[in-house]
Amino acid sequence: MLGVNEDDVGLGDAFTASPSLTSALSPAALVWRRLRRDRVAIVALVAVLLVTVVALTAPLLVDLVGAPGPNVQNSATLSDIGLPSGPSSSHLLGVDELGRDVFSRVVYGARISLSVAFIATGLAAVLGTLVGLCAGFFEGVVDSLLSRTMDVVLAFPVMLLALGMASACSTGKGCAAGLVKPGFGTVVFVLTFAGWPRFGRLVRGQTLSLRHHGFVDAARGLGSTNKTILFTELLPNLVGVVTVYATLMVPTNILFEAALSFLGVGIQPPNPSWGAMIAEAIPVFQSAWWFLVFPGMALIVTSLAFNLLGDALTDAVGQNQ
């Protein structure tokens, strides 16, 4: 049950909280109320929403500022030795080494980064939650088996797996009948593979704690099946903590995707990716700083915003328990 204290309702010592007022607020409303008072959280939330809107409306935004598409090359913007030109009225954030508009690529890069991060995090959350629920609920042999599996996967060098897969599956039609090849699919697969045991462990721990609560015994006493208990009694109580953890996983996955793309085994050219843009910018940094700075800033701001939001959510949800 969610607890309430005086501070949460914004009242000082001169007053006491009205039980009827606080008990009328839903858990989500209480979380929001706490978040609202945290200025850092609000700024982070606004930043996250902004990046999400940018990602969703990338084509509109690029058209609005009159920038060319992310893959439109213009050699006229390069010097006679191929060095890109900097920020100007026609290219707000300058161009890259192929004369492509950096603003456009940063904006479209947000799509790639958020898509990869959200999809991978979502898949990892679903898979990890299912596994964790089963491990924590059934205990015994099932728990041992699933927990050891999670331990093995957690010990796996994920970066090496990504590099190996990208290398092995970059030839011919890729791996698994073409399903796995360098690019979006492989990145999502690797991030999901790396992420699900983290959710699994978290959910397992929470489930172990919750399964001995009275409501579970009551449900069992009423004749509920294990499936019903798992998905209608336990799962709703885990949504909050899974959501918060997911919020913290998103920036990790954004950075990991950038790292894979930086190494050339993530998103494949010419698709814009912040990590790949940073990698391409390094050789010309001294003469084309914008090409490194703007995608770098986008990466930092996005990751920081998600991290701060996740921290704030952790605090806000944690106070309920």
Binding site: I81, G82, L98, S170, P270, E280, P283, V284, S287
Partner: protein, 582 residues
């Protein structure tokens, strides 16, 4: 494409070592002056060469890569003849005591050897004709299996030797220890002499090497003896101690090298080849900011080259033309590229100037309009700088309107491709080739052509995909460097050169007229007529729109301010035997 398997021939190539402030045109007078004065500004010291990858093979009888040749083999091994550094069009005797005697209608070549060219320790004796014979023969053996031996040396009796029915190649005769006679199957003495400059033609002491050549693969490379002014550091048994694969090759002076038998000045005492410098920017800056260093087998980034050109009066940078040509092969058997008008449309619309800029602009070389580079005979006959007078080659910046006209002729009324085929293309994973591949994809996209671009390791791009006909690669972007027009054009464009694997004719061009012209040109000894024929072949290949040539390459060498670099030759690389430090 790679540097070809056969290299070094007489051509009209001229060595030119240029400063960045000069026009990137041939200046053979400057080159001659540069080399004439390359008599060591200072003797002694250590020269460090920074390169981005290892040699393809340490055995000179096996390696085919130009880096291996110019930065290792030609520093440690001598051949019968070599290119005059100040005028690569001219051959000068190296181990040979004089020019060859050609007889029997061009099918017999007699060469006499200098008596005082010595092998390094532990062999410690003079080179004999038997060593020249063994050096060539081992290339045909199973355990050595030189990749270009059968293409380069049309010697009598090769088949019997490789079949095992003869103990020697009958076409190599050694009447005495200082004479070797070559008998050819066809009267092509010029081409044969050209190929005697290849590292396979380096003499190898049979009494020492045979024990290593018995192993499969041969381990002679790890125990090789040198005849040049330098040798790879070794121990008393001859085992190399100066080769750390992927990391470093250490060359020290060959104590048995006889300076009176060699025109190489050999200025420094030691050469350290630092390998694995994968970041070109970092490596280039180390060179320009350090001391005693020079760049090796990679092209410095344009920004670093520009900085070097504008500092220290441009003394730390040399730009030399090469015989390397960059082009994109169009597979004439893959739809829709099997339609000549589609290929012409691609050439018409292709912005070669954009590719040139991405490659580094004036530091990269000149925008190409056909396949024979300026340094090779046949260039002028193929159309010179402007190229053959085809409308689809007239605009280096591309002419989309003309391109769309050709697409309409190809059966696409909208002027853009509307079919369902996707073109498979492989690009190399190193910069700027990755960027260049993206330019190609975007350029073809303007005509509605869909390209499935896969970025892979450079060697894999060739070995697994472009060189394998069954992979049906539609577009292969790379480079090719021959030292004469035959080597520049034959393997990539003669129909007879098409093989299922190890293929270099990526266009799968098999035009009877062009094939016949190759047959005629290859046995033409008159240099003027030969140039005309190859110029015609180049024009005909462009007439078939089999490739998009876009760069006649230059090579940029950066060096520390205390290095007096001598740069030039057919590949525009540093001559480590004439470069000094201090």
């Amino acid at each position: 494409m790679r540097w070809p398997l056969v290299l070094l021939a007489v051509g009209t190539a001229a060595a030119a070592s240029l400063t960045a402030s000069s026009s990137p045109a041939l200046r053979s007078a400057d080159a001659a002056l540069a080399h004439a004065s390359a008599t060591c500004s200072h003797r002694g010291g250590t020269l460090t060469v920074l390169s981005n990858n290892d040699v393809d093979n340490i055995d000179p009888g096996i390696s085919w890569d130009i880096f291996s040749w110019t930065y290792v083999t030609y520093v440690t091994q001598r051949q019968l003849y070599r290119s005059d550094p100040s005028d690569p069009a001219r051959l000068i005797p190296d181990i040979a005591s004089g020019p060859p005697a050609i007889s029997d209608g061009g099918k017999t070549i007699t060469v006499h050897l200098k008596p005082n060219v010595m092998f390094s320790p532990p062999v410690n004796r003079a080179v004999t004709s038997a060593d020249v014979q063994y050096g060539l023969e081992r290339g045909f053996s199973k355990n050595v299996a030189n990749p270009y031996a059968s293409l380069s040396y049309n010697l009598v009796g090769v088949k019997a030797f490789t079949d095992g029915t003869a103990s020697h190649i009958a076409g190599i005769v050694t009447p005495n220890t200082t004479t070797v006679v070559f008998h050819l199957t066809t009267p092509t003495p010029t081409a044969f002499l050209d190929n005697l400059l290849n590292p396979l033609a380096s003499p190898v002491p049979a009494d020492y090497a045979a024990q290593f050549d018995k192993q499969d693969p041969s381990t002679y490379g790890q125990h090789q003896a040198a005849t040049g002014p330098y040798m790879i550091q070794n121990d008393s048994s001859g085992k190399l101690t100066g080769y750390d694969p992927g990391r470093q090759i250490t060359l020290v002076r060959n104590p048995n090298w006889n300076a009176s038998s060699d025109s190489r000045p050999a200025c420094v005492d030691r050469i350290v080849e630092s390998l694995g410098n994968s970041d070109a920017t970092v490596a280039s800056q180390r060179v320009t900011q350090g001391s005693g260093m020079i760049t090796g087998n990679f092209e410095p980034p344009a920004a670093v080259s520009e900085a070097a050109a504008t500092s220290n009066n441009g003394r730390d940078i040399s730009i030399a033309p090469t015989t390397k040509v960059w082009y994109v092969s169009l597979n004439t058997k893959v739809p829709p590229l099997n339609n000549l008008n589609v290929r012409k449309a691609i050439l018409a619309g292709f912005d070669r100037a954009a590719m040139w800029k991405v490659a580094g602009g004036r530091f990269a070389g000149q925008i190409a309009s056909h396949l024979i580079p300026p340094e090779i005979a046949g260039f002028a006959q193929a159309g010179g700088v402007r190229g053959p007078r085809f409308d689809y080659l007239s605009s280096p910046n591309g002419n989309l309107a003309l391109a769309r006209t050709y697409m309409k002729k190809a059966g696409y009324p909208s002027g853009k491709y509307t079919g369902s085929h996707t073109l498979l293309m492989y690009g190399a994973s190193n910069a700027p080739e990755t960027q260049e591949a993206q330019v190609i994809k975007a350029q073809l996209g303007l005509l509605g052509l869909k390209v499935n671009l896969k970025i892979v390791d450079r060697n894999a791009m060739y070995d697994k995909y472009c060189n394998v006909v069954s992979q049906k690669v539609a577009l292969c972007a790379g480079d090719w460097a021959g030292v004469d027009a035959y080597q520049q054009l034959y393997s990539p464009f003669d129909g007879k050169a098409i093989v299922p694997t190890g293929n270099s004719n990526y266009s799968l061009l098999n035009d009877p007229t062009i094939n016949h012209l190759f047959d005629v040109a290859s046995v033409t000894s008159n240099t003027k007529k030969s140039a005309q024929l190859y110029g015609l072949i180049d024009r005909d290949i462009m007439g078939q729109a089999a490739a998009i040539p876009w760069l006649w390459s230059a090579h940029v060498t950066l060096h520390s301010s205390d290095v007096h670099a001598v740069v030039g030759g057919l590949f525009g690389t540093a001559d480590l035997t004439a470069t000094s430090v201090g």
